[in-house]
Subunit: 359 residues, 2 copies
């Protein structure tokens, strides 16, 4: 009897452990996601966005969603994020959509476009103007989800060793300006070049190149270009550069609904937060640059140069729209939304700012 | 033995239930919070912000954080939110900080100020320039936590029956414009009046008042003012109106850390989201107004009027700064941050927008 009784107790205890374990597993299961970022370790602002996102997700989930971040120092493939998240080698990525245009041409449109939307206009397009749906159309066939990943705000037109007073000054101009904007300038006779980040300072100092664009004061300060180039041109080519969170669709589907929402909201907030952090850092850093080098001259391109760049940009867009129906759909959607929202920008923020400084 | 054995089993079963219940209670306890909003039921945009926030919080917490919202139709005290949240009658509120200036004068500064910061500048101040800390200084002594609650973007200067060509045109001008901006105009000879929202249309139509300001196209469209007033003036008095989430401190402290973070992030995201929603709705609604009434004229106040309003505004701020050390600290902090960030705004977004439209 004693023995039997003991066995019964063991069975009861085992049932009790099983009963405890079942709900504990469902509620407390920890999901560990691996994210690869394009940026080096501890990169400011761009790298703060995924760190901010991961910290919010972990805290909101009470430790059930843990996201570790590998920088390019670790994975060695800053421009391999798309492939690594697609294959499932990483669950998530933090990068920029326009880096994938060589692989999937229509990814070009989800970062920023020359003469395109400002940050609030572009967020309006993403969230209310069909932008998210078009991005899904482009990414879903690769088993990827793409979300806004943080905005740099308006990027400066770049650091120049000489003034640009006319279209003639663009002829043969050697400028580090990658991507679509480089194509625009090439149409006008400039010579866009690509040079690794670590060699840019020396190239500009020794006049191997005449000009370069990087980001804006937020990230230009640490590069030191303001010490060696007298002209800082205002922006035209990246009016609202939005970084990107990528998520592998299989990873996404494995997450319970509450963790999906935590991840969605953490990404959305981190993106907005980076916009504000960039704005702040640009204001701070521009003040520092100006104090150390008060002779820096801020210039805007003359109106005939702007007109010619716009015309070249429109030609390139027309070619892309003609070649691909989805490209056509995206370009039209952006143009339509920009025209509508720009009328509002012009009578609100722009009118306000101009009414103050005209005095 | 059998009886004893049965009792033992009961004890074992009870222990098992207790063991199950303890973690279940901690992990699954549902926190039900009551929120009062200043707005009527189903009010668009302003009312969408708390609904969006509550939906995100409930989904992210898997139903552990449930927030119900009472509109003014229910609680009948649209301007009683501060008191009702302070007393604990409601756990949370959604309103605007400047409504409490009659009760706590320094609450004035956390919504928007005439000739003040734009939306990204002001978010920069809140999150990186000391704004949140100053808001806490003002609210903590009332047992309240205050958070940004959604931005309207730049508000229009209002609908006018006649043009304002000089300071003389402000003399005796009867205008619905409440609060601090009304005080500024009063200094210049205008007669600010307050009229209930439901009577505004008739008052403007019958010229009981000469002008009124409301919000901007996002919320002006439904009021119909564009049908009865020919001039729509650009903004100066509310460049970035930020609504407010209020939380009772005792409620906040009762929440576990994960739900506090869920609530914090949901409020933060809902605030940003409302900024983008307002931007979008203004663009949409302004297009509608212009199509239906193409004769509407958008005007900006002449520069001497702007200068005089700025001077009157500065005088009022100087009086407030002199009368109260904390007011002085807040006003200086805002002015310092605005000056620094405006230099950046001017060479980034403003330069970009002006370079496009000069062509």
């Amino acid at each position: 009897m004693l023995k039997l009784n003991f066995t019964k107790k063991l069975i009861a205890a085992a049932a009790c452990v099983a009963a405890l374990a079942a709900p504990a597993q469902a509620a407390d299961k920890v999901y560990r996601l691996k994210m690869a970022e394009t940026w080096p370790s501890n990169f400011p602002i761009f790298g703060d966005a995924p760190r901010n996102m991961a910290a919010m997700a972990e805290k909101m989930s009470n430790g059930r969603l843990k996201i570790t971040i590998d920088s390019k120092n670790k994975h060695k493939a800053p421009l391999g994020i798309f492939d690594m998240v697609r294959s499932g080698q990483y669950d998530m990525g933090h990068s920029a959509s326009y880096y994938w245009k060589g692989k999937v041409p229509n990814t070009l449109y989800f970062t920023t476009m020359p003469f395109g939307m400002t940050a609030p206009e572009q967020y309006g397009w993403f969230y209310h103007g069909g932008g998210m749906e078009l991005m899904e159309k482009v990414y879903s066939k690769y088993g990827l989800l793409s979300f806004p990943g943080g905005n740099t705000g308006n990027q400066m037109g770049g650091w120049f060793q000489k003034e640009i007073n006319s279209l003639d000054d663009l002829q043969g101009l050697k400028m580090r300006i990658p991507g679509f904007a480089g194509e625009v300038l090439a149409k006008l006779g400039a010579k866009p070049t690509n040079i690794p980040a670590g060699e840019l300072y020396t190239a500009l100092e020794r006049r191997t190149i005449d000009a370069l664009e990087w980001v804006g004061p937020s990230l230009d300060l640490r590069m030191g270009f303001h010490k060696i180039a007298p002209y800082y041109y205002t922006g035209w080519h990246e009016p609202a550069t939005e970084l990107q969170f990528l998520v592998n669709e299989r990873t996404w589907k494995k997450l319970p609904a509450d963790l999906q929402e935590i991840l969605r909201v953490a990404m959305r907030t981190a993106a907005y937060d980076m916009y504000i952090q960039s704005y702040h850092a640009s204001a701070e850093n521009w003040e520092q640059m100006k104090m150390a080098y008060p002779e820096i001259q801020v210039k805007s391109f003359p109106s005939d140069v702007i007109e010619a760049m716009k015309a070249a940009n429109n030609e390139l867009l027309a070619e892309k729209a003609k070649a691909d129906p989805l490209a056509n759909e995206i370009i039209k959607s952006q143009l339509f939304y920009m025209q509508k929202s720009r009328v509002w920008t012009d009578i609100s923020d722009k009118a306000y700012l101009n009414s103050l400084s005209s005095n």
